[in-house]
Each structure stands twice: as structure tokens, then as C-alpha cells.
């Protein structure tokens, strides 16, 4: 199978291409040199005047698994009116804030995205996550494994045995077919099982002598480096949503100063004390900390006005949201590992808290100077649906649209805002960085996010329009591994995806220790816990080190 995309304006930041006219040649699903193609036999796509980018790379989205599925079940009202009709062999399903698996695959595909990362799975239910991933076509995938409240790790920290944590993490990533270390409110979720939380980095974790959020973060950052994982520790810090979050976020960043780490959905963690119980947006302070340390990356978790479903592994956060917002509340405490909760929410431009969150997210996008270190997310479905990305892109690229929207938000959220002063507009090149090249690089996915020789032929082609939301909502063509999967924003093919995972080597002696630990700590047998590579369709290991 050979393909040529000829005459397009190529935005391929990894290879320094900023809209220059070039051809992209594809053979057997990979980008190749022109010389490797027999042009007589190649299918030619005339891309003259069109914008050619690598397929989108999602670095943080909640799409599959136990928590997401509870969110789906919880919200029948959110599905109605968002149904997708079966078309030929393509499955039907529902969209809304928590789409069904097939529909999620189709919608990402139709938006030009080809790789996604599921942002949080408790190890005990990783098998469930992989089952759902198998039912989410057209995407390559990876899964972040929550470890910030893991008993075995906290015990190792308590005993001052980081190498035990290292070997365990290596074993755990292999056992869950996970891709990265995820931390969610380290220590706080364990304390929530006692009805409490943490609020400072040096607060004690109940039951673990000497263990604090800071020590958990430091240990897992060290483990991540030791194992040479392709991604960095992916951190959802303490105090999310609270008026102390900006302070503890910056403190966490300083704790790991100079070490590689990713701070996710930063918008939710960038607040200080404000009048009348409305948090003050602290984008400037947080962005300054990001700008100061080139080792870190962040994604924004932009909120989008409208329906959302908050769902995180941060059990105490979800409970406090439930107390604030009222209404339905899901909680799920997971033995020895993790927890989580779900609360549906509607973000309104007329609500001063929501409007402050909206402009704080945009301020972070505009104040972080290096687009290679700030990525587009809505923390779907926490801040908004992933299908809102084209709208967020327009807000970043089009200052007039941004000002017009800003004028319509609650007056108290406008007061003190930096947004009106920020003249910066993202270019197409910048967008290619924050939605493709940057996340792929941060994830260590060498065949993703670029169109150089050897890349997977995941390609999105757009017709440029003044309205950037319309432009990015419906790509002209989307190719996955060289197969045309969507045309003019409509699905035309279903293809299976890969599941990337890591299996760093570890001292096998740890297995005896873990086996003995399982006898005490789990209701599931050690022998039944691990997800085998053969259980995961399209499993593909990614090298460490």
C-alpha cells in the first residue's frame, strides 16, 4: 500500500517544517522517503493549498475503564439527544460528555486525532480498561496507572527502601500493561479512606510512618528516572480546586526542580484566596514557575462552558464537589491502591467561579512561553468534552473571538483578569506543537507527532479557514497508519489500534515479596492480577532506558 500526499503545506514541528510546501510519502503504514515509492502504483492525494499535520496526540483524557463507565451509567440524560446511528458496519452508541467506546474512537478520528492516553486507571481494574480499549477503534492508546496512594509503594517509602518501590513499579507496569506512572492527590486519597485529606506537602499519610505527599512525589520521580520510562511522572497534585492549590502546585514543582515531570490539567490547580469564596486565578504565578524550569511539561485542562462530568481518582475532591454542587455523587474506594469519584457539573459563563476557571486556563496557555511544554486538554470530561478542542484552538488563535467571549463572562471573573492584556495568538505551527509534536515528545512516542521518515502514517489534513473552530472540527482527510479513516469529518473506515505499554526490567526477587504481600492485601490472587500481553489486542511494548 503506497500513498502520496502531495503539494500540501506541511506543519511538522519536530522536523522544523512550518507550513512549507512538501510531499509526504507513505508505504505500509509508515512515512518513507520519496525514493521508496513507485509513483505509478501510489494513491495520490492532492493536498495543494491544504494544511498537513501529524495526527493529533491526546496526552490526558478519561475515556475508558471503571470510573468512566460508572460515569456513563450515571448519566442517561446526557446520552439522550447525543445518539449516533449505526452506519453499515460502524457501531451505534451515544456521545455527550461520556461517549461509548466506539463513538469515542470515531469522534477522535473525525477530529484528526490518532493517539490517546487514558489518564487514570487503578491497577486492580486495569483488565477492565483494556477490555474497553479493545472496543475503541481507530486509535493507538496507552494507560496511566495510578500509584500515588499505593500501599506497597507507601510502605517502601516508609521503610526508606526506594529500590523496592522501583522494582514494584516495574512489576506493576508490566502486570497492568500500563504506559506511565500517574499520581493523583498523593496521600490524600488514602487519607480519604479515613474521612480526611492532605492539604500540605508535608502532611502525614495515615498508617504510613514518615510518609508525606512530598515523599511520594519524590520517590516516584526517582523511580521514573531509574526505570527510564518513556513518559515522565504524570502528576495531579494536592489541593485541586482549592484556594491553596497555586501555592502547593508551585511548591511541588520546586520539590522536583530540574527533574522531568508532567503536571496535568494545571488550570484546576492554579488558585489562590479570593473575595466572597471565589478563588483568585493565579495563572501568572503558576506560569512563571513553569517558564522557570525547562524540565517540566504541563497540560491545561481548559474548561468549556456547558455540560461536563467530573471524574477523578481524587476521592476527597469529588466529595467536596458533591457537597458544593449537590446532586449525584459516585465514590469508589479501591483496596490497597486508589479511589475515585464522579460528580456531573455544568460550567456557566454567568457563574463567577466557572468563568474564573475559563479565563485562568486561557491565561496559562498564553503565559507559558514555550508551546513545547504546554498541551491542549480539557481533562475530558472534567473540564469539557474532547470534541471542544476546535473551539479552544479558535480561542487561542483568534484574539477577537477570545475578547468577544470574555466580554460575556461574569463581571467578577473579568475583574483582575490578565486575559485582556494578552495579545498573543497561537499560529498553526504552535497548534501543531501543542496538539501533536509536544505531547508525543513528552510521552516518548517516537513514531508519533511528526511526519519524518519512520513515523506512523497518522496524518490529518485540513482546509484552512478563517474560523479555526470550523477548520479543526472537520479535517478534509484523516489517515491512520496510512488508511483513510475519515473524510470531511465523517468516518469512512474502522481500523484496530495498538496499545502501547512498558515492561522495564526489575529484580525478580521482588515477585516473592509481592506474592506474600498479595496474601495479606488483596482479595484477588496474585496469579489472577496480571493482564497478559496476549489479553490485550494490539499490545506493543515501548522501550525503556
Amino acid at each position: 500500500m503506497m500513498l502520496g500526499i502531495v503539494g500540501g503545506r506541511v506543519y511538522d514541528p519536530c522536523n522544523g517544517r512550518d507550513g512549507e510546501v512538501a510531499d509526504v510519502w507513505v508505504k505500509d503504514g509508515r512515512v518513507v522517503e520519496a525514493a521508496a515509492i513507485d509513483r505509478e502504483r501510489a494513491e495520490i492525494v492532492d493536498a495543494a493549498g491544504l494544511v498537513v499535520m501529524p495526527g493529533g496526540v491526546e496526552i490526558h483524557s478519561h475515556l475508558v475503564g471503571a470510573k468512566v463507565n460508572s460515569g456513563r451509567k450515571l448519566r442517561p440524560e446526557d446520552h439522550r439527544g447525543n445518539e449516533r446511528v449505526r452506519a453499515g458496519a460502524f457501531r451505534s452508541g451515544v456521545g455527550g460528555t461520556v461517549p461509548t467506546t466506539y463513538v469515542s474512537g470515531y469522534l477522535y478520528s473525525e477530529m484528526g486525532y490518532t493517539t490517546i492516553m487514558e489518564a487514570a486507571t487503578a491497577p486492580l481494574v486495569a483488565r477492565h480498561t483494556h477490555e474497553e480499549l479493545e472496543d475503541m477503534p481507530n486509535l493507538d492508546k496507552g494507560v496511566f496507572i495510578t500509584m500515588g496512594n499505593n500501599h506497597f509503594i507507601m510502605q517502601a517509602v516508609s521503610e526508606g527502601r526506594p529500590e523496592m518501590a522501583r522494582d514494584y513499579v516495574a512489576w506493576l507496569l508490566k502486570a497492568t500493561k500500563g504506559y506511565a506512572i500517574k499520581l493523583v492527590n498523593p496521600g490524600g486519597v488514602e487519607n480519604w479512606k479515613w474521612g480526611k485529606n492532605v492539604s500540605e506537602l508535608d502532611d502525614p499519610v495515615i498508617g504510613y510512618e514518615g510518609v508525606t505527599p512530598r515523599k511520594i512525589v519524590e520517590t516516584l520521580a526517582w523511580v521514573n528516572e531509574e526505570l527510564g520510562l518513556p513518559h515522565v511522572p504524570h502528576i495531579h497534585g494536592i489541593n485541586l480546586g482549592r484556594s491553596t492549590s497555586a501555592r502547593t502546585t508551585v511548591e511541588t514543582m520546586k520539590t522536583l526542580a530540574g527533574r522531568r515531570a508532567h503536571y496535568c490539567h494545571l488550570q484546576f490547580l492554579s488558585y489562590g484566596e479570593g473575595p466572597r469564596h471565589v478563588n483568585k486565578g493565579e495563572a501568572a504565578a503558576v506560569a512563571a514557575a513553569v517558564n522557570a524550569d525547562p524540565a517540566m511539561t504541563v497540560d491545561v485542562g481548559q474548561i468549556v462552558f456547558g455540560q461536563a462530568t467530573t471524574m477523578t481518582s481524587d476521592g476527597p475532591l469529588q466529595y467536596s464537589l458533591h457537597q458544593t454542587a449537590g446532586g449525584r455523587w459516585m465514590n469508589d474506594d479501591v483496596e490497597s491502591e486508589s479511589g475515585g469519584g464522579i460528580v456531573p457539573i455544568t460550567y456557566k459563563r454567568t457563574n463567577p467561579v466557572n468563568a474564573t476557571m475559563w479565563r485562568t486556563g486561557l491565561e496559562i496557555f498564553l503565559l507559558v512561553e514555550d508551546p513545547w511544554r504546554v498541551f491542549l486538554t480539557t481533562d475530558h470530561p472534567n473540564g469539557g468534552r474532547f470534541t471542544s478542542y476546535p473551539q479552544v484552538i479558535r480561542l487561542l488563535m483568534d484574539r477577537a473571538y477570545r475578547e468577544e467571549t470574555f466580554a460575556g463572562i461574569h463581571a467578577r471573573a473579568r475583574k483582575g483578569a490578565l486575559l485582556p492584556e494578552l495579545e498573543r495568538e497561537y499560529s498553526l505551527y504552535d497548534i501543531a506543537v501543542i496538539t501533536r509534536a509536544g505531547p508525543a515528545r513528552a510521552l516518548g512516542l517516537e513514531r508519533k507527532g511528526h511526519l519524518g521518515v519512520g513515523a506512523d502514517a497518522d496524518i490529518a489534513i485540513y482546509a484552512e479557514q478563517d474560523d479555526k473552530e470550523a477548520m479543526f472540527a472537520k479535517p478534509r482527510y484523516v489517515f491512520k497508519d496510512g488508511v483513510l479513516v475519515a473524510r470531511d469529518g465523517v468516518l469512512v473506515a474502522e481500523v484496530p489500534g495498538r496499545t502501547f505499554y512498558v515492561a522495564p526490567p526489575y529484580d525478580p526477587a521482588i515477585e516473592d515479596e509481592i506474592r506474600a504481600y498479595f496474601e495479606r492485601a488483596y482479595t484477588v490472587a496474585y496469579e489472577n492480577y496480571a493482564v497478559l500481553a496476549g489479553d490485550v489486542a494490539g499490545a506493543e511494548p515501548v522501550a525503556c532506558g
Binding site: V64, A66, N69, S70, R72, K73, L74, R75, P76, H79, E83, R84, V85, R86, G88, A89, R91, S92, G93, V94, V98, T100, T101, Y102, L124, V125, R127, H128, E131, E132, D135, W192, K193, W194, G195, Y319, H322, G327, R328, W329, M330, N331, D332, D333, V334, E335, S336, I342, V343, R520, A521, Y522, T523, V524, A525, Y526, E527, N528, D535
Partner: protein, 423 residues
Amino acid sequence: MSTVLEHVACPFCGCVCDDIAVEVDGGRVLKVKRACTSGQGVFMEYDPSPRLPRVRGAEVDWEVAVAEAAAILDASDSPLIYGLSSSASEAQRKAVALADRLGAVIDSTSSVCHGPTGLAMQAVGEPTCTLGEVRDRADVLVFWGCNPDQSHLRHLARYSANARGALTPNGRGDRTVYVVDVRETGTAKKADHFLQVAPGCDYEVLTTLRLLVQGGEPDVDVVGGIPVADLTELVERLKACRYGVFFMGMGLTMTAARQLNVAELFTLVAELNAFARCSVIPMRGHGNVTGADQVLTWTSGYPFAVSYARGYPQFSPGEFSAVDMLARRAADAALILASDPGAHFPRAAAAVLEEIPTIVLDHGPSVTAGHATVLFPTAAYGVDAAGTAYRMDNVPIPLSQVIETGRPTDEDILGRLIEAVRP
């Protein structure tokens, strides 16, 4: 030479105990260790002899049966797919794919057991936890309208009342156990406190408990047959506990206020969290009924009673639930997956199953299989087929193939039907 397989999971009930040892020899199970009597039956009473499918009672080969079944589904204007809960999630996924393809109605046994629990969850949410949290942390347990002593024989020992965990090293000695039920069940006899609720009065007792949690004072002395003083004691105990867990069953879902009972309980548990950590776990029955809810939800958005007749999923319990589809004569053909509605459904619904053409996939004999137009004798997940089952707390557990019989799985047959029906 016999072999002993360890850490085998039992597919019988929602406990999915995965510490079973099974001794096998030459395709036969010789001995089963640690399983309860129900679990013993799953392995020991399994008839592994090879069987051919049947069309209208006559043995045929597999291709003929698949073609016959496909013809029935193609000729149907309103097919119903029902059962699912004793199959593996791999087969459940295929069942939903077939329903989507056909524009069928699909429903699981959830609709006749914990369907109201799902509706309650949609109404108010659900604070829950895994069974290991119960074992490790819970110091107060309340069993409401469920009787694991009869239905989930290892539940009390392995996960709840007697289980020893990190913070409960003395097991039963570290817990206070309550039972609320209409009669003194086996579980009630093992409890510290039995609160006997008058039949049909659960809702008012739950509402009273909510009132007491908020500090209100009922102006009566007895509610639903239970002295208010006893309810007050329970509330005080829960407000002061380390970690309280409620288990609830069909005593709430299938009596009087049904989903309103359950929603009231879930709300009570949510409100208790202002004082002490509390969770609730529905006591799910069939081995993988939880998986049926999970699979239907991730593929259709809804946990049971789903119609694909309009080309997209619609959810309407009472309309698309199997009993109602049959009793209304709204289904003109049925595919029954690993379930026996012919024996368990109300007469008006079961009778219709004898009139319309049916396709039955089952590993053993049943009333429904006895009337099948096309019968596929498939493998039993957890015995002669591997797969995945979800425990009552939504934890997925691998089921092993302990003997090899060469029988096709439900997944195989459903996959062949998807290929064989009109696109």
C-alpha cells in the same frame, strides 16, 4: 495422571472467589477444593461429553445450526437478546454487537434482580468500594434485604463479617453486624443485631434513618415494625464508625418502592459520609451479571433494557426489559444466552418463549433449552472456556479453562452469527 490447578476462579455467583483448587484428569474434574457447595456443583456436575447442536430437537452439524439461527434472526422484525449474566464479558460484547447489527432489543438478568439498583444509581449516585476495603477496614456492616448465608456462601468468611484484614485482624470480633430483613434469615442469626422490618416498609425505615442522621426526632416510637430506639442506636454506631458498609439485595429491589428504596439507601450512605466513611455494595447474584452491566454500558451507554430498533441505543426499563417485551408480545424471536427465563419468568412471559422461534446458547439443560428452535451446546466459562467475569464490586477476574472439551464458546457462536446475518 491428574493435575491440580490452583487459583481457579469460580463463575457461580458475584463473589467470583478465585482461590479454588481443581483437580483434573483426562478432560474430567475429579475434585474441587475450597469452593462452596454451589461452586462445587459448577465444576463437579458439569457434563463435558461432546454434543451437537439441535434444530427443532434433531441433531445437526454446527454450520446448519448457525444458518438456521441466522435465518430466524433475519426473518424477525423484533428480535430479543436476553440473559448474558452467566457468560463471559467477551461473549457479552459479541451479544451487544449482534443486537446493534440486528436492531434488536438486548437485556440481561439485571432487569429481574438489580435493575432498580441501576436506576437508583442513576438518580442519586452510589458511594461504593471494593470487597478488599470491606475486609480490611469495615467495622460496621449492615446487610439489608439480602442473605449471603444462603445465596453467597463464602461472602461472610472471605469478604465481610468474618474476614480478617489489615485493620480487622480479629475478623468477626472487630465488627458489629446488623441485618435488616423481613424474616430472621441465616445471616440474621449470625448478626449482632437483627432489625425485623415489616414487609413493604423498608422505605419508611430508610427515611427515618436519614432523619436521625440529620439529628431529627421522629414523633413515633416504632417505624416499619422497628423501634426508633434501635434505629437511633444503629445511626449512632454508624456515625462513630471507622468504615461502614451496607450490602443490599432483592429485599429492597423487588419489594414495594423498588428503586426508590435503593435510592433512599444510597442517599443515606452518602449523607453518612459527613460523619464517617460509609459505602454500599449491591449483592449481585449471577457470576457475571456485573459484567453484563459493564459491557452494555460501555457499548450502549445504558446497563440493561436497551433497544437498538431505531439504529441507536435507547434505554427503557419496563418497555425494553425482557419480561415486558415478551408479555407484550413485542418480540417475535429470541436469542437466549446462558440463562433460563423459561423457568424463572412470570408465566405470561415464559409462555411466549414457547411460541416464538428461539435460539439458545447454554452449556447445560434448562427449561428454555428444552423448547429451543436452535440449541447451541456451548462451553461453560470458567470450566471448559476461559474468559473474564466482573465480581459484584466491579473487579474483573480471569476465568480459566480447567478442562478441554472442544466445545465452541458463546463468543465463537455469536461471532459466527454476526457474520451470518444480513449486514
